[in-house]
């Protein structure tokens, strides 16, 4: 039985108004309300307030709004999926870009600053039937530094005709000791020729 201590049962009264009491509790509340004007008044006020709030808080959506809602959601989901896929590529650039740029800069600096030139004993690597052969060939170079592309290509043209495919040109760079003969090879730069020479 719900006792006549109003201050203790506001939650029950509220649950009664909200229809959240189980059948047994509801019966007890009904009995109490029959005999208690104060609780009846409070229950009525709570009910009236709820109706007023429901009326005030009713906002109809613009006409046709829901006709396109799910397709707009689907479109946004597709866009997000695409956007999520992109960062994998940009992420590499973002996080990988710094070391890549640093390495590239360092390489350029080394190439420029170290006194490198193609040894007059420069070689051309010719691959034929899977066998790489280093062929001695004189490459004319400028005073110091790389020979021009013409310098690199011309010797190839002088090769015997049976060489029908050049896979790569390898330029051997001298070590720290400078251009000694034979050069101490420190670095080899291999230039691939994708479609053969």
């Amino acid at each position: 039985m719900i006792e006549n201590k109003h201050e203790l049962k506001v939650n029950q009264l509220q649950a009664y108004v909200d229809g959240r009491l189980d059948p047994l509790q509801k019966n007890k509340a009904d009995v109490h309300l029959k005999n208690c004007q104060k609780c009846r008044d409070l229950a009525k006020k709570l009910g009236d307030l709820d109706k007023a709030i429901s009326r005030a808080e009713y906002y109809p959506a613009p006409e046709g709004y829901f006709n396109t809602f799910s397709s707009r959601v689907a479109c946004s989901i597709a866009q997000r999926k695409m956007a999520k896929a992109k960062p994998q590529f940009w992420g590499i650039l973002r996080w990988g870009g710094v070391p890549i740029a640093a390495a590239a800069t360092l390489t350029i600096l080394i190439v420029i600053s170290v006194n490198i030139y193609i040894s007059d004993k420069g070689s051309i690597l010719v691959e034929r039937e899977g066998i790489k052969t280093r062929m001695a060939s004189k490459i004319e170079t400028t005073a110091e530094g790389f020979g021009s592309s013409r310098d690199l290509i011309e010797p190839l043209a002088l090769m015997p005709h049976e060489i029908n495919e050049v896979k790569a040109i390898v330029i051997y760079l001298p070590g720290d000791e400078g251009p000694i003969h034979p050069p101490e090879i420190a670095t080899a730069i291999e230039i691939d020729i994708p479609n053969g020479g």
């Binding site: 939650n11 509220q14 909200d18 006020k45 709570l46 709030i53 959601v73």
Partner: protein, 177 residues
């Protein structure tokens, strides 16, 4: 046609049949929109939150705990988004331009509009924790337990805050209601 339950639809979406997500959206779009617009009092903001709710729910579907109603889970996302949006728009915007259910009598309409505006105004003056619960109760869709799940607060707190909010409103609106 056999209507699939929320759980069945979710399982289909999780297994890669994305098209079924549309059914979940259609099922709850009105409820989510009405909660969002009630919180934010502006159609554009409510629309943004409603859409974002379904987008976030889609991408977080794997984390959904099926012990709770899908609707409850959705509303939790909605409420969080509403709070974020409300912070951005500083204050809840009064919806004087929003329609109410009009009657045929113009004078009655004006009076009704006035009283509705006053009620909204007083709701907005409530502490946020009481306002949240009151607005979630409007549709009577959610039980107290579900409100406690949506707002992540104990059941007793839901009931006491709800009553405090109602009591305050009854006092402030006694000349209208």
């Amino acid at each position: 046609m056999n209507v699939l339950s929320d759980q069945e639809l979710i399982e289909k979406v999780l297994s890669g049949e994305d098209a079924f997500y549309g059914q979940l959206v259609n099922r709850y779009q009105r409820a989510v929109y009405s909660v969002a617009i009630r919180y934010l009092r502006q159609h554009e903001a409510g629309d943004d939150v409603a859409q974002e709710t379904f987008i976030r729910a889609y991408f977080s579907l794997k984390t959904y705990d099926n012990r709770y109603r899908f609707y409850t889970w959705l509303l939790r996302i909605t409420i969080n988004l509403c709070h974020d949006a409300a912070k951005k728009q500083q204050k809840y915007i009064p919806l004087n331009d929003l329609q109410i259910q009009a009657s045929d009598n113009p004078l009655e309409n004006v009076a009704q509009q006035d009283s509705c505006n006053k009620i909204r105004e007083e709701i907005d003056r409530l502490p946020a924790d009481q306002r949240d619960i009151l607005l979630l109760r409007v549709d009577r869709e959610l039980s107290y337990e579900e409100i406690s799940k949506v707002l992540n607060i104990p059941l007793g707190t839901v009931m006491s805050r709800l009553f405090r909010g109602r009591k305050t409103l009854m006092e402030r609106l006694k000349y209208i209601i």
